[in-house]
C-alpha cells in the first residue's frame, strides 16, 4: 500500500510540474504502436513523426506557438486507445491521430461529437474518405479503392498501353482489408477488357506456395497486384522468385513494400525490380530528411536508426507535416496559438501546394473528399534502395467515386 501511495504522490507532484511547463503548447494527440502486433511500422513511423515536430519547433515557423506531440502507445488495443483519446481530450488536444483500423472506427464517432479532427492515413475503409459522413476524420492517404485503380493504370502502362485480353492476378491477405481492392478491379474489368482472378492468402500469411504456383504456372498471369500485410509480402517475393516470375510485373500495395519486407525477402538484390506503391515518398532524397539529419548533426548525433526504414519513417514525417500544416493554417487564420479543433479541421481544407519537395503528394482536401485526391506513387526496388518509376498520379477517379456512392447507399440502407 505504501508503495502505491508513494507512487501516486510522485505522479501527482510531477504531473503538476509537467503541466506548468507546457501551458502554451499546442497539443497533438498521437497514438502509436511500438510494442504491439504492428510494431514494425510503429517503431519507424513514430520517430519520424517526432523528428518532424522537433524540426518544425526548432525552425519556429509559427512564432511562439510550439507543437507538443504527446505519444501514447496503445499496443493496438482498442480500450487503451479509448483511454489515450480521453487523455488527449483532457489536455485540450486540437488534433488526435488514432493509429490502427479498429481504433479509427472506435473513435470516429466520438471525435465528431467532440469536434476534434484526426487523420487515419493507411487505415480504415475507402468510405472514411467521405467528408460528409465523417466530418472530423481525414484519411489523407489513398484508400485501397484508389490504390487498386492506380494499380490497374500502372499495369496498363507496363503492358504496353492496353489490357485487352491480359491476365491480372490479385493476391491478397484473406481479411476484410485484403478483399477491399476486389470491387474496383471487378468494376474496371469490362471497360479495360482484362481477365481477373483473385488468390486469397489465409492468415498468418506465411504459406502461399500453392497460390503462387497457381498464378505463375496454371493461370500464367501477365501482371500481379499484391495486397499483403505483415510477413506475407516477403514470403510472396521469395515464392515468386522461386517460380521464376519477373518481379517487375508485380505491384504491391502500400503495406507490402517497406524496407523491412525487402530485407526479409533476401535484401535488395533478391527483390530487385519489385514495384511498390506509396502514399508518402520513400528514400532519403528529400530536403526535409536532410534537414532532420542536420538537426541531429548539430546536436552531435548521427542519423536516427529508424530513418533507414524510409517507407514508414517518411510516413511519420508525412503525417506530422500534414497535421502541423493544418494547425498552422488555423493559427494563421486566427492570429493566435489558442486554436480549437474546429478551426484545425478547417485548416485541413486550406492545405495547398505543400509537398515538402516531393515527399508528400499534391493533396487537395475538400469538404467532400477527405482522402485528398487518392494520390499514389510507384517506386521500384533497386540494388541499393528505391527509384521512382512514376510521378504522383491517380486514375479512374470517376469509377472509384461511383463505387463509393454505391457503398454509401448500401451502408445507409442497412
Amino acid at each position: 500500500m505504501k508503495f502505491f501511495t508513494a507512487l501516486g504522490a510522485a505522479a501527482l507532484a510531477a504531473g503538476a510540474l509537467a503541466s506548468q511547463a507546457s501551458a502554451k503548447d499546442i497539443v497533438i494527440g498521437m497514438m502509436c504502436d511500438r510494442t504491439g502486433p504492428t510494431s514494425v511500422t510503429g517503431t519507424a513511423l513514430c520517430p519520424g513523426y517526432h523528428d518532424y515536430v522537433n524540426l518544425y519547433n526548432k525552425q519556429g515557423n509559427m512564432g511562439e506557438c510550439k507543437i507538443n506531440a504527446h505519444e501514447i502507445d496503445h499496443e493496438y488495443k482498442v480500450p487503451a486507445a479509448v483511454e489515450a483519446y480521453q487523455t488527449y481530450k483532457a489536455e485540450d488536444a486540437v488534433l488526435i491521430s488514432p493509429y490502427g483500423t479498429p481504433m479509427v472506427y472506435a473513435l470516429v464517432q466520438k471525435m465528431a461529437e467532440d469536434k476534434i479532427p484526426g487523420t487515419s492515413a493507411g487505415f480504415g475503409t475507402a468510405l472514411a474518405g467521405n467528408g460528409e459522413a465523417y466530418p472530423y476524420m481525414f484519411p489523407i492517404a489513398a484508400s485501397y479503392y484508389s490504390q487498386a485503380a492506380a494499380a490497374v493504370k500502372f499495369a496498363k502502362d507496363k503492358l504496353g498501353g492496353s489490357l485487352k485480353g491480359k491476365k491480372i492476378a490479385y493476391i491478397y491477405y484473406d481479411n476484410p482489408a485484403g478483399t477491399e481492392g476486389i470491387p474496383v478491379l471487378e468494376k474496371l474489368k469490362p471497360q479495360e477488357g482484362y481477365e481477373l482472378r483473385t488468390f486469397a492468402v489465409p492468415a498468418p500469411g506465411v504459406e502461399m506456395g500453392p497460390q503462387i504456383l497457381d498464378i505463375t504456372r496454371r493461370y500464367r498471369a501477365d501482371f500481379v497486384i499484391s495486397h499483403l500485410f505483415g510477413r506475407a509480402p516477403s514470403v510472396s517475393l521469395k515464392e515468386f522468385k522461386r517460380a521464376g516470375y519477373p518481379l517487375d510485373k508485380i505491384l504491391g500495395f502500400v503495406w507490402a513494400g517497406s524496407e523491412g519486407d525487402i530485407q526479409a525477402a533476401g535484401g535488395n538484390e533478391a527483390a530487385e525490380g519489385y514495384n511498390t506503391m506509396h502514399f508518402a515518398g520513400v528514400g532519403q532524397d528529400y530536403p526535409v530528411i536532410q534537414q532532420i539529419k542536420d538537426m541531429y548533426k548539430a546536436n552531435g548525433k548521427g542519423d536516427p536508426d529508424a530513418m533507414q526504414y524510409t517507407a514508414y519513417y517518411n510516413r511519420g514525417v508525412f503525417q506530422a507535416a500534414v497535421h502541423i500544416k493544418a494547425i498552422e493554417n488555423a493559427v494563421k487564420a486566427k492570429g493566435s496559438c489558442d486554436v480549437t479543433g474546429e478551426q484545425v479541421r478547417d485548416g485541413f481544407y486550406q492545405i495547398k501546394d505543400f509537398t515538402l519537395g516531393g515527399l508528400l503528394p499534391p493533396l487537395q482536401i475538400t469538404k467532400k473528399d477527405h482522402e485528398g485526391g487518392g494520390w499514389v506513387r510507384v517506386f521500384q526496388v533497386t540494388k541499393s534502395g528505391y527509384k521512382p518509376v512514376t510521378e504522383w498520379y491517380r486514375d479512374y477517379r470517376h469509377e472509384v467515386s461511383e463505387l463509393l456512392i454505391e457503398e454509401i447507399e448500401k451502408a445507409a440502407k442497412k
Binding site: 510494442t35 522537433n54 472506435a106 476484410p176
Partner: protein, 339 residues
C-alpha cells in the same frame, strides 16, 4: 443465508454502490469516467471467464470470439431491425451462449491444455466465419456502425449516461455471479473442477454442467461484446482477436481464480496498470532523461515494468489479488487482538 452474511460486508457493498453510483459521476471528469466504463466492461468479461475457468475448471482461450458473436448479433439486430438494447443485449448473450455450447462439446472428452487448443480453434473459426459472411459482417471491412443505446426514447450519449448504462450491467453481472456460484449449479461447477470423476459418482451430470459452464461463460462474453459495441459505436472483428482472450485470462489469473471479487480486481488491475505505469514514467521520467528520449522509450519500458509487476504479484500471492485482499481483511478483522 443471504448474499452478504456479515453486517460489515453488507455495509461495504452499500458503500461501494454509493461510491460508484453517486460519488463517482459527481466528482469525476470525463477521463476517469471513461476509465471506469472500460473497467466495467472488462469486469463482465472477466466474470464470464472466471465462471468457466475459475469455478468449472475448463480452460478456454476463445473468450474473445464469443464477444465478437455477441457484438455482431447485437449490431445486426440494432441496425437491421432497429431493436433497442434491452433486446439486443440479452440476444447477443444468448447467441454467444448457443455458440458456446457447441464449442463446449469437446470439453466432454478432453481436458486442460487440449481443451484450450480446441477453444483456440473456435477463436479462429468464428473469426473466419464472420469475415467471410457478408450477411453477418455487413459493411465495409467487416464492421458495422451502431448508434448509441436509447432508453425510453432518450439517447445515452453523454459519458455519464454511458457510464451508468455500463455500471448497471456490470453490477447485475456481479450480483448474478455471486448468486450463481452459491447455487446448486455453482457447487456442481466446483465439484467438477476439483475432481470430475468424484462429481459424477455423487450424482452430478458432468455432461450437463460442463455445457452449462460454457453457455453461461459465453453469455457473459457475448454481453461484453454488446457493451463494447454500444460503447464504441462499432462492431469490428479486430477488437476481438486472440490477444484479447489472453488479456482476459490474465485478468482472472491475477485477480484470483474462483472468486467474484477477484474478477473485479483483475479487470481493474489489467486495465489500469499500464496507464498508471505510463503516467508515472511520463512525469517522473522527465526529471531524469530528456523528453525526446523518454517519448521514444516509454512504451518499451512500460512493457517490461508491466511484466515484472505481474510476476511480482503472482510470486507474492499465487492465488491472486483476491487472496491478498482476504489476507489484509482477515488481519484487520481481528486487529488489534491478533493472538
Amino acid at each position: 443465508m443471504g448474499l452478504y452474511p456479515l453486517p460489515i460486508s453488507r455495509f461495504s457493498a452499500f458503500a461501494l454502490l454509493v461510491l460508484f453510483f453517486i460519488a463517482a459521476p459527481l466528482v469525476m471528469s470525463e477521463y476517469y469516467l471513461t476509465l471506469l466504463s472500460l473497467v466495467a466492461i472488462a469486469t463482465v468479461g472477466a466474470l464470464g471467464l472466471n465462471i468457466l475457468l475459475g469455478y468449472a475448471g475448463q480452460l478456454s482461450i476463445g473468450h474473445a470470439a464469443f464477444m465478437s458473436v455477441g457484438a455482431y448479433t447485437a449490431a445486426n439486430l440494432a441496425t437491421k431491425f432497429d431493436l433497442p438494447f434491452l433486446i439486443t443485449l440479452p440476444a447477443g448473450g444468448l447467441m454467444a451462449a448457443a455458440i458456446g455450447i457447441i464449442v463446449g462439446v469437446p470439453s466432454l472428452r478432453i481436458k486442460g491444455v487440449y481443451l484450450a487448443i480446441a477453444t483456440l480453434a473456435a477463436q479462429f473459426i468464428i473469426e473466419w466465419i464472420i469475415n467471410h459472411s457478408p450477411s453477418i459482417s455487413g459493411g465495409a471491412q467487416a464492421s458495422i456502425e451502431v448508434a448509441r443505446p436509447t432508453l425510453l426514447g432518450e439517447r445515452l450519449d453523454s459519458p455519464t449516461e454511458l457510464y451508468y448504462f455500463l455500471l448497471i450491467v456490470a453490477v447485475v453481472a456481479v450480483i448474478a455471479t455471486q448468486n450463481l456460484v452459491r447455487s446448486r449449479v455453482g457447487r456442481a461447477f466446483v465439484a467438477i473442477r476439483d475432481q470430475d470423476i468424484a462429481a459424477e459418482i455423487i450424482g452430478i451430470s458432468v455432461f450437463k454442467y460442463k455445457l452449462y459452464a460454457f453457455a453461461i461463460s459465453s453469455f457473459y462474453a457475448g454481453v461484453t461484446g454488446v457493451l463494447y459495441t454500444y460503447y464504441l459505436g462499432i462492431a469490428s472483428y479486430e477488437q476481438f482477436q486472440l490477444g484479447v482472450s489472453i488479456d482476459y485470462l490474465a485478468m482472472v489469473i491475477i485477480g484470483g481464480l474462483g472468486s467474484v471479487l477477484g474478477s473485479v480486481f483483475g479487470a481493474f488491475f489489467i486495465s489500469l496498470l499500464p496507464i498508471a505505469i505510463r503516467l508515472v514514467m511520463e512525469n517522473v521520467g522527465s526529471l531524469f532523461v530528456e523528453p525526446d528520449v523518454l517519448a521514444q522509450s516509454i512504451s518499451q519500458l512500460r512493457q517490461i515494468l508491466f511484466g515484472v509487476l505481474i510476476i511480482f504479484f503472482l510470486i507474492v500471492e499465487p492465488d491472486g489479488l483476491n487472496r491478498l485482499w482476504i489476507n489484509v481483511r482477515n488481519y484487520f478483522r481481528v486487529w488489534p487482538f491478533s493472538h
